[in-house]
Subunit: 199 residues, 2 copies
DNA sequence: TTGGACATGTAACAAGTTACATGATTGT
DNA sequence: ACAATCATGTAACTTGTTACATGTCCAA
């Protein structure tokens, strides 16, 4: 119910930007909250139906030729109030995230260091690409919506993305150096074999 | 099946450190991979049963008085091979994480900026606390396991935690300044009312 | 004597993804 | 002619958490 509430509130938030259909919402996500929140059709359509029943949103149906009817949802007063109530509740801390990269690195002693190096190299490339996306997105936003009252908040979320990306890039480079050093040692004294000087 | 595989592999990894019972594994997680990976009893016990059937691990039962029998699991050769195979597979990129803080900030225009400020202040306190935990953990590890071949890998995962925490702290401070500025403006020109100069 | 740690496990629930069903329209 | 996109929705499946059941030992 806790998480479910979040799905509802995320959708209310998106509908506060503009009235939309379920399809519109799904299309908007990658261009808005997609870097830190995702919802699939399998979540969106049932949630819209539930929230319509409970009066948080309302549906306007438009006939179209050929295509299915378009169902456009918009916030009701109750929906906007619910959104604002939720925004005021302190953020639930620490949803532990599953980070497969760190998991593999943590067990890196089980394989030659070159393996871990490859993982970090891939992560570095990915982080650099992501940083560029954030930078481009920021420019686009500033250009297209310079006076939107939501802009400062959208920039704030982008800024954390940039900080995180830069931190990850720095860590990747530092880690590649560490692993490079280990790989050099490893070539002389392979893991899982006893070293000459057992001491 | 993909994710399930990860649960199995995480458990194989932990058992590569030492043979353990399900209870031991659960206790070890907060002290090892807990900052980036979690498994509950509801996952662990069934997974151990499955992996015993499929020959990846083996169980030794020890009778105890009073307490339930202790089931200690250890990797088989097949289990270690499976772990190493998995470690060699490139990391599956981009499991989109749900970040409730960013979600609330993204919709911050719906409430007074002071609300968003409080969220960020809480995040700052949390990030500073977390950074300290990482720093202390690193010192403890260096002190207690100076010669463990796994140490460098454990330090690598801690280092990303430190980089991330510092980035988050910097972003919190920067964001508090932005929101503070907005709050000052907001007191003169409240949101949702028209400003005097519509221009 | 009461509560917490020890210890194993299951069942019920919650949440989320993917595949499927349907069918028109548009571009190659 | 074929694939992609538009558009809505459901069903099946996977994954994960929480609560419960059971019972001992130990410390305050």
């Amino acid at each position: 119910m806790q998480q479910r509430a979040n799905t509802n509130n995320a959708l209310l938030g998106l509908l506060s930007i503009a009235p939309m259909s379920g399809y519109d919402i799904r299309q908007l996500i990658p261009k808005s909250i997609g870097h830190f929140w995702n919802e699939s059709y399998g979540q969106i359509y049932p949630a819209l139906k539930r929230m319509t029943s409970s009066g948080l949103i309302e549906k306007k149906t438009q006939r179209t030729k050929g295509k299915p009817d378009r169902h456009e949802y918009s916030l009701t007063d109750a929906g906007r109030a619910q959104l604002q109530d939720w925004l005021k509740v302190p953020v639930a801390q620490r949803s532990v995230v599953r980070n497969e990269l760190l998991l593999k690195l943590f067990f890196g002693a089980q394989v030659p260091p070159a393996i871990s190096r490859e993982h970090v190299e891939a992560a570095l490339i990915d982080a650099e690409r992501t940083l560029k996306v954030y930078t481009v997105t920021e420019k686009e936003l500033r250009r297209t919506l310079p006076n939107d009252p939501q802009l400062p908040f959208w920039l704030i979320t982008l800024s954390l993305g940039r900080h995180d990306s830069r931190a990850k890039i720095a860590w990747c480079k530092e880690t590649l150096a560490v692993l490079g050093q280990m790989a050099a040692t490893h070539r002389n004294e392979p893991v899982m074999k006893k070293t000459r000087k057992a001491k």
